[in-house]
Symmetry: C2
Subunit: 167 residues, 2 copies
DNA sequence: TTAAACTTTCAAAAATAATTGAAAGTTTAT
DNA sequence: ATAAACTTTCAATTATTTTTGAAAGTTTAA
């Protein structure tokens, strides 16, 4: 397999995986590209390599930086900005987990709490609803807590998590 | 808060959460609705409650059944089909995890393996690419294995996983 | 201060995904 | 075998999301 071909296949696959997980395809592709690039890339490089517009590149790079998984770099004597990906995979996983927890899980938990406790009605149906949403609340909360604990440790987090839970 | 209002809020929230995780909104809403319904619902019920077409209901119910998290039920003397959600949350999580692993992670792993080992070229760039994709492969594989182990246990899976890993 | 080099913004366009609804298909009862 | 009751399919439509590209904004150098 040609290097170029392999790189393209990787970038496409990572992009498709991103889509399936609610992440914009281009965003995932830029990330993929930066993951396998030894040297930081400029916006031009990225536009060129992925065949995308300047606006698209700009917006998605910004989104990746907001997630804290892509960094801006400056090169000696160069005016333009360069970008690199967070390449420590544990760190990457932690950042993504934390961000998704903050943006999606926490708000959902808030709503679950509200609806599970906020209904006065005492019909069988309403009681069942409260029961189920409460269970869901507890479950999601538990899951989120595990993620939170796990991300307190950077290296070998699972082992360390186990240690703490066992003591 | 009115029961109806709360139910609606829950269904909408669950639907939005689904979208953010790459799951069709209606699919997530149907699932949400069934989660809080004590009695099985018919396709009519679902169409009515979510204000969606018959085709939409049919396709998304089928998808939920393919995921193994919604079941068909038959009622005494009734001709039409009724549906219920898997309400055991551990079981639900396991099914979702397994299905996503099978559909998305496993195929991605295959590609990662291919591209990380398939490039002959010996340039610095190509070597770096192979290195990075290999690391990614190992990481995703490790993560997928943890999920796999975790889902071997239905109840209190984490504790049991720990036991096994500790021995 | 000016202008070149570069980045961001955002309305419009394009691409993608979800939804509809009616026809075709299936099952059940008689 | 027929028809009523119900479900599925899928081409066309609609809604949503992404992308473009040019104008506006920013920074740097001289």
């Amino acid at each position: 397999m040609e290097f170029k071909e392999a790189k393209n296949k990787f970038v496409q696959t990572w992009g498709a995986l991103g889509s399936q997980w609610g992440i914009n395809k281009t965003m995932a592709q830029i990330h993929a590209l930066l993951m396998v690039s030894k040297e930081p890339l400029s916006m031009e490089d990225i536009m060129e390599e992925l065949q995308i517009s300047r606006g698209n590149a700009s917006m998605n790079i910004r989104a990746l930086m907001d997630w804290g998984i892509v960094y801006k770099e400056f090169k000696q004597g160069e005016r333009k900005e360069f970008f690199t990906a967070e390449k420590d995979l544990d760190e990457l996983a932690i950042k993504i987990a934390k961000e998704r927890s903050k943006r999606e899980i926490k708000p959902a938990l808030k709503v679950l709490k509200e609806v599970s406790t906020g209904v006065e009605e005492k019909s069988t149906e309403a009681k069942y609803f409260a029961e189920q949403t409460d269970k869901l609340y507890e479950f999601v909360l538990k899951t989120d807590n595990i993620i939170e604990k796990a991300t307190e440790y950077k290296d070998n987090w699972l082992t360390k998590l186990l240690m703490k839970m066992m003591k």
